[in-house]
């Protein structure tokens, strides 16, 4: 059985604080430890920021749908936008690493490292959906 929380947010970074607040509440609800909670904040903020800036191209009339689904073993997060993201991935669907002095391009690297699993689905007519999975397990090894 799973529990679902879905937020339809205007595509605007002024709602980022709200995203942080909700994510913190989800962390507490799922009894994540401090480190897991921090990881969750990072990946959710990356997903939302990416959706606003790249997916919806900063278009304030669009929406971002943020969903948290909790099962007995996992927390699944999806971030869905209404646009088309020019995300560049390697052919094996791993994020292309930015150059050391690049100012952008580290978001997917953080998502791929901090989440148990992730996928990015893109459909030109429907937008993009970033799915991330967190294991609800306290015994995290240090990276």
């Amino acid at each position: 059985m799973s529990e679902l929380i879905t937020l339809h947010l205007p595509s605007d970074l002024k709602y980022l604080d709200l995203v942080y607040s909700v994510t913190q509440s989800v962390s507490q609800y799922c009894d994540l430890d401090e480190r897991q909670a921090h990881h969750l904040q990072v990946v959710v903020s990356e997903g939302y920021t990416n959706a606003v800036i790249h997916g919806n191209k900063g278009h304030s009339g669009r929406y971002v749908v943020l969903t948290f689904e909790r099962t007995s073993s996992f927390l699944r997060i999806s971030v869905e936008d209404e646009g088309v993201v020019p995300i560049v991935m390697d052919t094996d669907h791993t994020p292309i690493l930015p150059g050391p002095m690049d100012e952008t391009g580290r978001g997917l690297l953080l998502i791929s490292t901090l989440s148990e699993d992730f996928e990015l689905l893109s459909e030109p007519s429907r937008g993009n959906k970033l799915n991330m999975t967190f294991r609800l397990d306290k015994n995290l090894e240090m990276i």
């Binding site: 990072v42 002095m101 391009g105 953080l110 990276i143």
Partner: protein, 118 residues
């Protein structure tokens, strides 16, 4: 996010607290731009009060580092908290920035051979 700056003669400390993300980045960039324009090119950025950083915050720090280097200045980071340090390690920016556990050590490094304007 809060930013406090203090001139220590040879270098300037910038103490940041709160979240370093896309929303707070603009203010930080503006503050640094002003410092560089005033000739304060040796910077010790104290991240001890930063409890959260994501890729946007990292990008801002990289951008600032590039600006500092353009004016032949020096910029070092200090007092990274556990989780902020972890983000630097994952993104390998720990190899790009000079990181120090304390302001004292950071200041000593900057003061050894500070960049001079003019």
């Amino acid at each position: 996010m809060e930013i406090k700056t203090e001139s220590k003669g040879v270098y300037t400390t910038i103490k940041i607290s709160g979240r370093l993300d896309l929303n707070s980045s603009t203010g930080l960039k503006e503050k640094i731009k002003d410092l560089l324009a005033d000739g304060a090119v040796n910077l010790v950025v104290d991240l001890g009060g930063v409890d959260f950083i994501n890729s946007s915050g990292l990008g801002t720090l990289v951008s600032i580092l590039k600006d500092v280097r353009m004016v032949k200045g020096k910029m070092v980071l200090c007092n990274l908290g556990r989780y902020v340090n972890e983000i630097f390690e994952i993104t390998q920016l720990s190899h790009i920035f000079d990181l120090f556990p304390s302001e004292e050590e950071a200041a000593a490094f900057v003061s050894e051979s500070p960049a001079r304007v003019g």
